[in-house]
């Protein structure tokens, strides 16, 4: 993979290779895992496990067609969480747009890294009496620009590195967001299903109430109570179905396949609560090392420092034009020799320019510092959110749901002994379903918090879901 060099997206996004990358690369593909590994070398292999997803910078119709075929295949197979990320990486126009900014950065780099163009100077001066003319030829170039070319090239390369890091970051974020959208769609679908069961129980309780009413054994008050409970449950179920539909649309939009007619076929189940959470200690420091935007900001600081160096170096001699001139005078006699034009920094000593570069580098530094604070904040609040989400998920999944199941069982037993009426076990089951809905939402929130932490810490291993939770309502 590495030997195929700049054909690989890895090189285009990595920036740590020192290679400027080939501007002629049109089509960069890479196995996703490898891409992210080299993009941020400290990420473990399980960043996005096993499943290889291609990242394609589609720059022509042929590339689009190839990608479209793969997207069709993936959609037809059904979309689990891994495939959601793969499809997004292939199909998302947002990611393609990000890649195009990489193209612009590369163009900027090319222009900055080129040697100054030579200037040809031609003059013809005719004598007043018409007796011949003087012709001057000159070939000069900006010597200072030529001299500072290596320095400027270095700065531009660093800038390009930053752009590559940003592209890699976009890949990371897209992979995380695909997981998030998939999780939301999946949990919304599960909640809609539980709501449907809830409403179905409401309907049955209402029907049973109707039978009691028909037999003359239930007063209007109790009958209407069952009716309103049912209607409320039905409306709530409809709302949940709408939410599930929207969540699926949002997933399709994120993956970039919303225009397709077939609805996204969701696969998978709500992931269970994992054994433990990532350790809190040192995670901020790790985030500051791992996060690609932090690395990009660091590149920007380096580039601005390099540009400041150039500005300082050219302060004494801001402009130096050198070259050769040849003169042919009216008599046809030729003379030649070197030419030099020197700017004397008498009035404009480039102090403004140097000050501006100074300010630029300080700006880049302050922005990097500010970003570091944001990173710390994001990691801390994500850690806190995760801890809270775990407590909540444990409460619902380990305590409330089992307790509700016990209540359903006990109520059913008491109904069997005619200690309770028929509505009690049905209502108890409805309350158990409410608890299951809360537990699904709590698990979703846990994994959302974990994705938030993955984003905040730049540690994609946190975005890997645990195996599905066993569904209690069967």
């Amino acid at each position: 993979m590495r030997d195929s060099g700049d054909e690989r997206f890895r090189c285009a996004v990595s920036g740590s290779q020192g290679s400027a990358g080939s501007p002629s690369v049109k089509y960069l593909t890479l196995v996703l895992a490898a891409a992210l590994c080299s993009a941020c070398a400290q990420l473990p292999d399980e960043v996005l496990p096993q499943q290889s997803g291609e990242i394609v910078w589609r720059r022509d119709a042929a590339a689009d067609a190839v990608a479209a075929r793969r997207i069709d295949e993936a959609l037809a197979a059904g979309v689990d969480v891994e495939r959601a990320a793969q499809i997004a990486l292939l199909a998302s126009p947002d990611l393609q747009a990000q890649f195009e900014t990489l193209g612009i950065a590369r163009a900027d780099y090319l222009s900055a890294a080129s040697a100054p163009n030579p200037v040809i100077d031609w003059q013809r001066r005719a004598l007043a009496d018409g007796g011949g003319a003087t012709v001057d030829w000159g070939l000069t170039t900006q010597l200072i620009d030529l001299l500072t070319l290596p320095a400027r090239r270095r700065a531009a390369a660093i800038e390009l590195d930053g752009a590559r890091l940003e592209a890699a970051l976009a890949v990371q974020h897209l992979a995380i967001e695909a997981r998030e959208r998939h999780l939301r769609a999946l949990t919304a679908a599960r909640i809609a299903e539980l709501r449907r069961q809830h409403a179905d129980l409401g309907r049955l309780a209402f029907e049973v109430a109707g039978r009691y009413r028909d037999a003359g054994n239930l007063k209007m008050l109790d009958f209407e109570q069952e009716r309103t409970s049912f209607l409320h449950a039905q409306q709530t179920a409809d709302d949940a179905a709408l939410e599930a539909l929207n969540a699926r649309f949002e997933l399709a939009r994120l993956m970039g396949v919303l225009e397709r007619e077939a609805p996204v076929k969701l696969l998978g189940a709500v992931p269970a609560l994992p054994q433990g959470d990532p350790p809190v200690a040192a995670s901020e420091a790790e985030a500051l090392r791992a996060r690609l935007d932090v690395q990009a900001a660091r590149r920007r600081v380096e580039a601005s420092v390099a540009r400041l160096g150039t500005a300082r170096a050219t302060r004494i001699v801001p402009q130096l034009e050198g070259g050769a001139v040849r003169e042919t005078d009216a008599s046809g006699e030729r003379s030649r020799g070197p030419a030099l034009a020197l700017e004397l920094p008498l009035f404009d000593a480039r102090t403004a320019e140097v000050a501006a570069r100074h300010a630029e580098s300080r700006l880049a530094m302050r922005r990097a510092e500010a970003l570091a604070l944001d990173v710390r904040l994001e990691v801390r609040s994500a850690q806190a959110a995760l801890a809270n989400a775990r407590r909540r998920a444990e409460l619902w999944t380990k305590e409330v749901v089992p307790a509700r199941a016990k209540i359903v069982d006990g109520t059913s037993r008491e109904f069997f002994f005619m200690l309770r009426g028929p509505f009690d076990p049905m209502h108890a089951r409805q309350e158990a379903l409410e608890a299951e809905i809360e537990s699904v939402a709590a698990l979703r929130d846990y994994w959302l918090a974990r994705l938030q932490l993955a984003r905040a810490s730049g540690d994609l291993s946190l975005a890997r879901f645990a195996p599905a939770v066993a569904e209690t309502s069967k």
Partner: protein, 423 residues
Amino acid sequence: MTDRDTLSRRQLLLAAGVAGAAGGAGAATDTGPARAPSSSRAPLVTLNGRSLPFKMKGGVKEFHLIAEEIEHEFAPGTRIKAWGYNGSTPGPTIEAIEGDRVRIFVTNKLPEHTTVHWHGILLPNGMDGVGGLNQPQIAPGETYVYEFTLRESGTRMYHPHADEMVQVAMGMMGLIIIHPRVDPHPVQRDFAILLHNWAVHPGTYRPDPSVMTDFNLWTMNGKVFPMIDPMVVRTGQRVRIRIGNLSMHEHPMHLHGAHFKVVGTDAGRIPESAQWPMTTSLVPVGGTVDIEFTASLPGDWAFHCHKSHHTMNAMGHEIPNPLGVKQRDLDPQISKHLPGYFSMGEHGMAEHQVHTDMSFHDTPENTLPMAMGKGPYGNLEMGGMMTILKVRDRLQSYADPGFYEAPAGTRARRVSQDPNFKP
């Protein structure tokens, strides 16, 4: 009296189920319950119970009651923490003879103070046992002694008169039977029953003393049908049933197969001129009723409280009435959400016992089916205050003889299955 009537004491104990139920603190002493001065007096049978042993000390009968927390079982499937005496509720029956001087030690092993009131006995005021009024309460760990002379014969009771609401609800009670020195109205079978009600919410293990009227278990001597011993009698015998009531409800006790007279209360024998034949007698709260009759008809005769909810066990009383409600067709749909769900009671509640007997469903915690009991012809569909008077022409012992076999032509029989049958 025929020789067959004088069964051995051991047989009697077995017949009364005493051998199995004994084991309280008082059971180990060497002397038995009061013996009749003449062999003609029938031994007292406390259904599912026993009599408290005593010792003679200087012409005084000494008894020892221990008030304590106990484990009690109404029937297999319900166990509670109750309070009682000498290991049981009701406590053992105290038997004595008119004119006896009795000394009764009362040791309190309860977590709160108690007293014993000797219900219906005329005695010195300081022995009457109303805590705070007649004596200081007996603190936990303390022993008090009561001593008095029994001036009258008849059926009496004992129970605390200290925190009575709680202690009676928890099961603290017992019977006192004072035999006449010479019984002018001898019987061959003499049974003693103490009625009680309990508020044991299904799934709990301790009676709820705050319940005032909504009791859910109705017992004779702490048991529910079919765990209540039958009363086994030979045809032609004179039978006495002594019924005390320390529950919070009156019970119209009804006997099949005989006409009886109420011959006594907790205040003694009723003059013959004031007795009249009956089949049902209301046993008042805090009172006793002695009935006597001749068992002239052989067979299995129900003896029960006529409040039909009192011959049932715990059930919901505020559930929607399922009678006549057509809902079976919804069961398959509902069982998708609640496995094993099935509706009950459309045609009546008799099917309920079929379901519970067959264990169609898991049973709830610590409660009994509302109806139990099996007879030779099917389910008895009762619980609570019900037992059977078993009258037989021949008996080897007073052990349960099994169910009566009606002679040919003396049992109701089916003659048609056509609903439009016209005789």
